[in-house]
Amino acid sequence: MKETQAYIERIRRVNREYQRLDLAVDDSLANIQAGQALLVRRIEKDYEAEVWDPYLRELWFPVEAQARSILVVEQRARQPFLPGQLLSIIGPVGSPIRLRQKLRNILLIAHDSSPAALLFMLSPLLARDVSITLVLMGAARQYEASHLPEALELIRAEDNLGWNDMVMTLGWADQIFVLGTPGEELASFAKILRLVRSRRTVLPPRFIYGMLQRQLPCGLGACHACMVNTRQGHKLQCVDGPAFDLTTLRLE
């Protein structure tokens, strides 16, 4: 964990809704892994010119690592960025997600949320010939996915209650990762967990994970704003997360 500077090297519009930013980052971020994030603050060249709006650092999940020192992030196209923009980055924040060794089929679910936080694992998993299914539920059904790898199976849920072939995809999945409504993630996780339990009576440990994307004031485990209750005690999104086993997370 370090505070480093980066700059936006390139901006690419990938579809009507989203743009991708290539960030030239410090070597300390070269080994960032799926699940880990960056706490980003736009800065001016003159260090004295501090602007406090927006105040908190933004939580950015990389979607791709292109070269040793280039990380790609996905942002809404309407957000104004310029090449050369300097960034102050604290990271990597959080712990890498724990993928099963013998993973063959993985199910990713984005409920009312952009799936960006799940995309970093796509390339390495596809290289391992893992079958990936991405389900977009709720508001996430509007997500434009034309830029995602063709090998990815994309399903847009019909409503909040399910999707075609749900029994099949839930039955085949070796592991599931869920993104919930930002700010209301626990409610989303509870809803998805009920859905999964209705199709699979036994949920083994480390099978279904929920990934938190709460705004983090410090990102280092100091402020305790991101603390959650689990059956193993209190855990922090910024240190122990962002992915938590949904069978151990207290969702009430």
């Binding site: 505070e3 105040y55 650092r57 004031p217 410090c218 990102g219 280092l220 305790h224």
Partner: protein
């Protein structure tokens, strides 16, 4: 150069730099090691601790505001016994004093907590945080109980009640007053659509607390130091508090947004106060000044002195 931040007497606390992190900002001293040079600060103030464990708040915790944010954590902590067991070795290794922030819940709790705290050498002082709904009678009972402590006792006052509580707290034996805890506010959380309450952080807090510091400095006895806390985001903000009568400052949320700012304010204020006490020019030192520039600046005045 030591700066006394508590009342002179048997239990007094002196720090090298009058800049401290506010309670809740740096955790228990182990989190910011790689981002900050803690030795540039006067002391470490820990996250709030209660006698028994407290759970995190449910619902929204962070709501962004224009140039600030609202935070409600519920002060989760594993309880005094576990905190001491877990962190006292970390505190012993720090080069700066450790001030434990104790949440003032009730007088009996304070008595039990203070008995335990007296045994911990790594803790140099205690900062007592009074709750927002604390009456004068409650405050006096809690401070009276906490006065059993054989260490310096700083009392952090709630924002809205600080005018009523400051003088009684000083009379009851507070060794220093910390003005103030971040003010409480209520905003609508756009994510959930619900009204959410919590503490408000940001630069706009500073003018309000700065005024309180100025007013209370004139009202409370001169031997009770005031530590200013709230909305400090630059070295100049910290200097303003010193000018208003504070002996030291605590920096809160700015540290999360820009960790180096805390260290920068520490370096600046440490240098500024040293310079002022030697009757030197106020602008003689700044934190980014190298040795060469410092020497070049000094030369004209030396030449002038020689010519006189």
């Amino acid at each position: 150069m030591a700066i006394e931040i508590t009342r002179p007497g048997k239990y007094s606390l002196a720090v090298g730099t009058p800049v401290l992190p506010a309670a809740g900002t740096l955790g228990f001293g182990d989190r910011y090691k790689r981002l900050l040079d803690l030795s540039k600060l006067g002391a470490l103030i820990t996250n709030p601790v209660t006698l028994v464990p407290w759970n995190p708040a449910s619902g929204a915790r962070v709501v962004p505001l224009d140039a600030g944010f609202l935070l409600h954590t519920g002060l989760p902590n594993p309880g005094l016994k576990k905190v001491i067991r877990q962190y006292q070795n970390t505190w012993s290794r720090l080069s700066i004093p450790v001030i434990l922030h104790l949440v003032g819940t009730s007088a009996p709790d304070m008595l039990r907590a203070c008995a335990r705290l007296d045994e911990v050498e790594a803790i140099a002082a205690v900062e007592l945080g009074l709750s927002d709904d604390c009456t004068v009678a409650d405050a006096l009972a809690i401070i009276d109980a906490a006065r059993s402590l054989e260490k310096p006792l700083l009392v952090r006052l709630p924002f809205f009640e600080c005018m009523q509580l400051a003088l009684p707290a000083a009379d009851a034996g507070a060794d220093a007053l910390v003005l103030t805890a971040a003010p409480r506010g209520t905003v609508r959380d756009t994510a959930s659509g619900r009204l959410t309450s919590g503490r408000v952080y940001g630069p706009l807090v500073k003018p309000m607390i700065l005024r309180l510091v100025g007013r209370l400095r004139r009202q409370i006895p001169a031997d009770v130091p005031i530590i200013g806390c709230g909305g400090i985001h630059s070295p100049q903000d910290a200097r303003d508090y010193i000018e208003a009568g504070a002996v030291a400052v605590q920096v809160d949320a700015a540290t999360w947004a820009q960790p180096k700012m805390l260290e920068r304010i520490g370096r600046d204020l440490g240098g500024w106060i040293a310079t002022r006490q030697r009757n030197a020019l106020l602008d003689e030192w700044h934190p980014d000044m190298g040795t060469t520039e410092a020497l070049q600046r000094r030369m004209p005045s030396e030449d002038q002195a020689e010519s006189n």
